[in-house]
Symmetry: C2
Subunit: 297 residues, 2 copies
């Protein structure tokens, strides 16, 4: 199993100016913190990294800034695009920059069929040579991977893992079992959706693709190690403590909360790409209070 | 009421090569057919016109090809983009090229709030000076305009109409009433979704934003004139006759069927942008049979 798909994969924001020009110094700072914390991998240009809103040139600048700072920590890179040919180029760029793998979401405007998504994935993988992780993110793409489509894709050499949205507890065991039954032995099954992930990690999920881990890697690592090390009691206690943060994520979205948090920490004053608006003052004050009360690190 | 939002607005495909380069000769041919048929307006670069998959430069090429051929027929242009600043540039391009109005959808990746969509629309309108029609297309954007948001936007000078998805019969009367109650008098309420549109036109909808009308303007005009002229019996009969086409639209999507139909008519052999795949042989044969049986024009 590729080690980059086990344990904690931390997903930072990608600070950029209002015109979409990436602040490479801020990227270096954010990625450097994650490398120093020894996360298991870094998820650059994920959904939280606003990949969908950045041009190819700017995504390359983010890559070139992040990869040297990441050092030995493998970097997964979001390579999704609406057009297949664009996703191919983005995957080629990620490979050339030294990414360990690509994260490919079924980005769509016209709703896609399963065959179209299959062809899209196989084409991007074949024409780039980059190992790809299936990025199942129905909350943004509105495409949902069935176990049958995951099965087909997992047979393709070069498609090396899947990132699924965490089902609400107690659905994790059943979701894992449904996928394990159809993928090759050892095929990594990772999960996103911070507020639901603990139970699926306890149930045997291989990786946590974590938004909060992008800013608070030590806290996220402690939860990951407890859940994957078999200490379910400790993992659940750590998760319960984080409930005020999860409540903000659910209400305001994890992306908007993380931009506010990065500002509160003094790491970057960048705002999300418009039309996404930064949180207003009162929501931002609630984020600040929550961060203070939870003493995240 | 701006006349461009009354009656039949015909939405052609935008033929392009596999790299996304627009075939301007084919655009001229398709738009020329619509102008000759005297449709009430042309919807260039709508969802069926694959605007989301075309670069700014190619969208400009399509505009420059279409506008002169459209002649006196007003042209509405899709100006949607994921980023607000990009949508502004696209709207500026459309205005410079002579478009009568822009069609702006709430294209999203990160799900947007109502306030974000409001700011997006007002910014694009203000910074371009282009009159904008609200393009409510939850099937592709997964954002749904509430009557309250339509109310707020309809108060903004320069936002001049709305294109809603047709509710299934008999929901048209209620949908129209809900919007009429909140928008200024005379604010045009148009509808898309060919297979449900007849009843909402009979109920008083101002415009049909029509996919089939992009290739078969005479057939679509006959239905529009009957429905809007008060001959509900004739409109329903014409619509019932088209049911085999609507069944294909529902099953295979109107976009994929229209690409196949344009090929069958010998107008263009262009395929949709990948990852969208052209219809397979058997589906294409069913489209050919249906076109032949219905004798569309």
């Amino acid at each position: 199993m590729p080690t980059q798909f086990k344990g904690l994969s931390a997903f930072p924001i990608t600070p950029a100016d209002p015109k979409g020009r990436v602040d490479t110094a801020a990227v270096e700072k954010l990625v450097g913190r994650l490398a120093a914390a020894k996360v298991d991998s870094i998820g650059l240009l994920g959904s939280t990294g606003t990949y969908a809103y950045l041009s190819r040139a700017e995504r390359r600048r983010a890559l070139d800034a992040a990869l040297p700072v990441a050092g030995d920590v493998p970097v997964l890179v979001g390579v999704g695009a609406l057009r297949t040919d664009e996703a191919v180029k983005l995957a080629q760029d990620a490979k050339a920059a030294g990414a360990a793998a690509g994260l490919l979401a079924a980005v769509s405007y016209t709703p896609l069929t399963e065959d179209e998504v299959y062809e899209h994935f196989v084409t991007v993988q074949r024409e780039s040579g980059l190992p790809l992780c299936i990025y199942d993110n129905p909350g943004t793409t509105h495409f949902r991977f069935t176990p049958e489509l995951v099965r087909r894709l997992s047979r393709h050499e070069g498609i090396v893992g899947v990132k699924s949205p965490s089902p609400e507890a107690p659905g994790g065991t059943a979701h894992l079992a449904a996928l394990r039954a159809v993928v090759p032995e050892g095929f990594p099954l990772g999960y996103s959706g911070d507020w639901n992930v603990t139970e699926v990690l306890i149930a045997g999920g291989d990786a946590w693709f974590s938004v909060m881990g992008g800013l608070f890697p030590h806290t996220a690592l402690a939860l990951t190690r407890a859940a994957q090390g078999g200490d379910a009691t400790e993992a659940r206690a750590l998760n319960a403590r984080l409930e005020p943060l999860w409540a903000l994520f659910r209400e305001l979205s994890s992306l908007r909360v993380m931009y506010a948090a990065a500002g509160i920490l003094g790491l970057t004053q960048a705002e999300p790409p418009r039309p996404i608006l930064p949180l207003g003052e009162s929501a931002r004050a609630r984020v600040a209070e929550t961060l203070k009360a939870l003493n995240l690190s």
